[in-house]
């Protein structure tokens, strides 16, 4: 069923994706499709290969076999920075920000301009850059922290900053790895609100354990188990799937 990259409806088409680490197949013959403006949540028990799937899409891990088509481009043949420039943004599980730099500088580095060596040398902090940084900072609740060194932020604020760094890239596909993990209840609420605003006009691929959160945002849920798809569909379908119940509650 290799129609993914010919079908313009699919933003992302993952087909027959397999990766093996020393014989262990962390992801095994996985196929799924993400449409434009779709919010897809990947759930599954620990070790199901969820993070590995994101690693494969963003180029951090090379696939053993299979194809990942994004807007007709084969991501498995591209370098990490080329994948980003094609429009894929990735948030890591633990907040990955630059602690030696200020919040402003963190966001500015992610601004999609001057990405070559000499482009970076010639890069000017223009009014447009400043406006965009401030706009994003406002969205991620850090507007009054712009001049502050990023290492002084709380854990939740660091997560927001990284989400902001992705937002400023304006990716067509946003991949979030457990965006609310380790957050306080009030931070969770704010993050959900934040995610609701930023998922407009783009496709999002989220890994999350928080079922309430998943129910809240997901259009479609993919359940992974041992590197393969166990079930796929709306939250209701998935919740009532006996195979899913078996995996989650059976052991």
């Amino acid at each position: 069923m290799l129609i993914g990259h010919q079908q313009p409806d699919f933003l992302l088409a993952v087909e027959g994706l397999t990766v093996s680490f020393d014989g262990f197949k962390a992801v095994n013959d996985l196929s799924f499709y993400v449409e434009e403006n779709e919010i897809r949540v990947i759930i599954g028990p620990n070790g199901a290969g969820k993070t590995t799937v994101l690693d494969l899409i963003c180029g951090k891990t090379k696939a053993t076999s299979g194809a990942i088509h994004f807007r007709g481009k084969d991501l498995t043949k591209m370098k990490e920075n080329q994948i980003v420039q094609a429009g894929v943004g990735r948030k890591f599980q633990t907040p990955s920000i630059y602690e030696d730099l200020t919040v402003f500088e963190n966001l500015e580095i992610s601004y999609p301009q001057g990405r070559s060596v000499f482009g970076a040398l010639a890069f000017q902090r223009t009014a447009a850059v400043r406006e965009r940084v401030e706009e994003v900072a406002e969205a991620i609740f850090l507007k009054d922290k712009l001049g502050q060194s990023a290492d002084l932020l709380s854990h939740g604020q660091k997560q927001w900053l990284e989400i902001g760094m992705l937002l400023i890239q304006d990716p067509d596909l946003l991949m979030l790895d457990e965006p609310v993990a380790g957050m306080s209840v009030s931070e969770r609420v704010k993050t959900a609100e934040l995610l609701h605003t930023i998922i407009k006009d783009r496709s999002v691929l989220v890994i999350e354990h928080d079922m309430k959160f998943v129910e809240d945002i997901a259009h479609k849920v993919t359940v992974l188990h041992q590197g393969q798809i166990l079930s796929e569909g709306t939250m209701d379908t998935v919740k009532n799937d006996p195979k899913v119940i078996e995996v989650y509650l059976g052991h």
């Binding site: 990490e80 920075n81 580095i109 992610s110 970076a120």
Partner: protein
Amino acid sequence: MESPRFLSRSDVIGLAALALLLVVILPLSLDVFRLNLVAKYLTYAFVALGLVLCWGFGGILSLGQGVFFGLGGYGMAMYLKLEASSVENTKIQSTPGIPDFMDWNQITQLPLFWQPFHSLTLTILAILIIPAFFAYLVGAAMFKRRVGGVYFAIITQAIAAILTILIIGQQGYTGGINGITDLRTLKGWDIRPDHAKVVLYFVEVAFLFGCILLALFVRHSKLGRILVAMREKEDRVRFSGYSVANFKIFAFCLAAMFAAIGGAMFTLNVGFMSPSFVGIVPSIEMVIYTAVGGRLSIFGAIYGTLLVNFAKTSLSESFPQLWLFGLGALFIAVVLIFPNGLAGIWRDHVQPLIDRMINKRKSGSDHHNGKSFGPIADGAPAE
């Protein structure tokens, strides 16, 4: 959010303080012999400056900067040697017109790779381009394969060892262990007398300031911030759409170019070039200068180089056997107690003192804006 200017107030003060020291105080207070020693020390400051960019900011520790220092120095030495080896000067040789050491090694014709060094223009181009190109090759081979950290340091060290062995082994082409000596004139201008040494000192200081300005420009550009970001979270930079390898290659090439300029100035000021400035030991010493000065501070690197070398000269004059232990102890002390070197001490201890004094004087009239300044600490982010 103010946009970072090319020169901040602390940079201007730092430049002025350094200019005062190098252009006014030292030339007025030292005799020509000592001033020439300072000129020699400052040639290493070029290397230290490059190491601040590539190691301090970019996190790429190279233990082989002597390679680039040597390439620059040998380039200049080859030009000067050819000028000193005119047919007239070398008429007692069995083959007049070639450098003396070639004649001693039964070489009867100038090797092809020496030919371009008849021209000063080509020599200057070679000094700037060959080390940078070599750094590009090494950098591309390493960084594209994600070789970094300790492995990169070891490989640069191996390259330094290889180049030294090559130079020593190919005596007929390179002057061997003695290096290239007996250099006399530059375009007919004698570089040996005292007044020439003074002129060369000032030329070197001018070049040093050029390199400092370039380093400050890089530091304050977005590229400078990307280097800092890369040192911390290489993957985040990569997944923000940057080619990390290219940025590392750039920093390494720039550091190589600075080192090569330093090497060329060494040959001019000291009057010879030998493999003892290429190998592992000088390369590591140069890293120590940077560490002592503060690897995150552009100005700190210059003061660190001067200080360690002054100490080296005075200690080795009085206690020749103890010097190496002193250097080792200094490095351990810096790493353990003052990880940000002189610049860190300045920023954490001296600077607040000055700020407080200024504040006291200003108090009542206007408020201190809290912005710090100082000649050594140039606002580099703290570790």
